[in-house]
Assembly symmetry: C2
Homo-oligomer: 339 residues x 2
DNA sequence: TCTATTGATTAGAGCGCTCTAATCTTGTAG
DNA sequence: CTACAAGATTAGAGCGCTCTAATCAATAGA
């Protein structure tokens, strides 16, 4: 059996309570005793039992984290940011996946709550709002990539509208007038990206063209083929704002297949700045979201609630940035693509 | 305050012990009482407190998981597999990242152990063997993507030698004779892949060509340029076994840049079957490791130890499979590439 | 010398649960 | 009608810790 506080106390010749104080770095312990306790603990290889501690102190250092899909690099990055912040502050992560199914997410959430965590962070959950509000009655809840009106719930989102606007501003600034958006359909965040695209286009006095697509490369190919079938070569959009990076890659393939060059004939902007986009071969201009930062902010929002420093909900809306690479270039009406 | 067992017991008019039995689905509870308890629990919104349960029962349903880098899709997949198996069996994951630094991993590991977990799973840890053995003295330990001789430690690895052999067999079967390997250098698993390549080449009576590289796309480009500078066009290897998918992408870019077609002039095989490889645009032939399966096996190895069903260490060596896509094609000495 | 006062230490209850052993019900056989 | 086994229920101790309140030691002030 692993040593307990009692064992350490016996070996150091003090009481259990004193050992407890030492373990928690209490200032009201004499140096002599502290040293003795520390030595005894060292010799026995003693380590405090977090669960017992949590039970006795009625506090928790556990943060429940539910990710609906870890394979998605976006969430993996957020979790990394979360973990870094949590570790630094002495919190531990209990992690679950929900598999994008409300039923499984419900189980996952219940499972997290049974730890009586200090708080819970849900990454892009698909459970109904009522389930989230129920959770918020038990402990602070932070939502990432999902909005909520509940007062016990903080949210951290990337500003998808701003991201699309960034892409449009970039293309418009390069002289493009006919710009199309490959819409992500029902995918998370797609609606915002579409709205941002439309608003930005109107701001530039341009007519927004929206093509129904999905967040996959094959959908990107398909959408571009539709575009090619719909428009004459002279009227074809010269700028494409894809729903995400995968979609952009598909779009580029279809363009090249049709004999169009990127970026000479058509400029393409992706979204997400995945490892894909950074490949030299592709060098995709894309919109980058501060993923690790989002994890950190989610943690901080939670901790503020835990410490009782804040009761008002906070709604973080993070600003994405544009990473300009090689798939976008200037366009002039004369047809040539200046370099 | 959230309701406790005592509250449920009072409301149902029974003892706390009876509630405990019901919560654990004990068969020795009458149907009447069980129903009453369940109803009371439902009405109060009672949920068992896992930590208290764990403390009292001297058992744990917590599995500690240390990932050295979640951004790596490989580990994210393994964790998904792990989580699925754990959830199904009623276990919970406490997750940590070690950031590829022995010191930080040490802290992370200590933190996991302070939960007194049922077991610990380390994904590609870089801590010294002594630290792993020390952990194994406290609870069962399973290593993924790392070997160990310790008897309290189980391991789950992918057979990197077999993977490279698969790639070589495929190319040799297509008629290729001059095949080069772009070596991953010090990256995890690179040494095995290299050994497997060399052994397989010799088995086919071919001379192994190994080019020093890294697991990045830029390194892949660089290595191919070296290859092009070293060999005359007639003597250039016609088959390339890249260190991983990123490396393969770089290699392909450099080949195309040099006016060589893939797969008509040179066939390329990647490794890892990342989302990259599946892109239609690329359609990379690559070696797939059963990542989710590895997570599941790691979980099962742990559970067997926890249940005391096994004390002998187990060493899983998983067989990768080849995913043939469009970057490999037949080669005949006459120069043409039959299709 | 005696009492405050301050700081260091400890006793003991209790966190929410499980588990063993004891107690209470029945049903059934003698 | 009694005895007893089998099943259902409960009392109570204890898991490893924290926390409050009490105790103890040592110094200072009167």
């Amino acid at each position: 059996m692993r040593p307990t506080m009692e064992d350490v106390a016996a070996r150091a010749g003090v009481s259990r309570a004193l050992v407890s104080l030492v373990m928690r770095n209490s200032p009201k312990v004499s140096d002599v005793r502290r040293a003795a306790v520390l030595r005894a603990a060292e010799e026995l290889g003693y380590q405090p039992h977090v669960m017992a501690r949590s039970l006795a102190s009625r506090t928790s250092t556990v943060l429940g984290v539910m990710v609906n899909d870890l394979r998605n690099a976006f969430f993996a990055d957020v979790v990394e940011g979360l973990d870094a912040a949590a570790q630094a502050a002495g919190f531990d992560l209990v992690l679950n996946t929900g598999g994008r199914s409300p039923a499984r997410e419900g189980n996952a959430l219940r499972s997290l709550l049974s730890f009586r965590p200090a708080g819970v962070i849900l990454l892009s959950p698909v459970v109904p709002a009522s389930a989230i509000e129920a959770a918020a009655r038990q402990c602070p809840v932070v939502l990432v990539s999902r909005t909520s009106r509940a007062s016990g719930v903080d949210t951290v989102n990337d500003d998808g509208e701003a991201g699309s606007a960034l892409a449009v501003d970039h293309l418009a600034g390069l002289g493009h007038r006919r710009i199309a958006h490959l819409d992500g359909g029902g995918a998370a965040g797609a609606a915002q990206r579409r709205r941002g695209f439309q608003a930005a286009m109107r701001r530039h006095g341009l007519e927004p063209i929206v093509v129904r697509s999905e967040h996959t490369d094959t959908a990107g190919e398909k959408s571009v083929r539709e575009l090619l079938a719909t428009y004459s070569r002279a009227e074809l959009p010269t700028g494409l704002v894809a729903g995400n990076d995968f979609n952009a890659v598909g779009a580029i393939s279809a363009l090249e297949e049709a004999g169009l060059r990127v970026p000479e004939d058509v400029s393409v902007v992706g979204y997400d700045n995945t490892s894909l986009a950074a490949l030299r071969h592709l060098s995709l201009t894309t919109v980058d979201q501060p993923r690790t930062e989002m994890g950190r902010l989610a943690f901080e929002a939670l901790v503020e609630r835990v410490r009782g420093e804040r009761t008002e909900p906070v709604r973080h809306l993070l600003h994405p940035s544009l990473v300009v690479r090689a798939t976008t270039a200037g366009f002039s009406a004369t047809g040539g693509a200046p370099r």
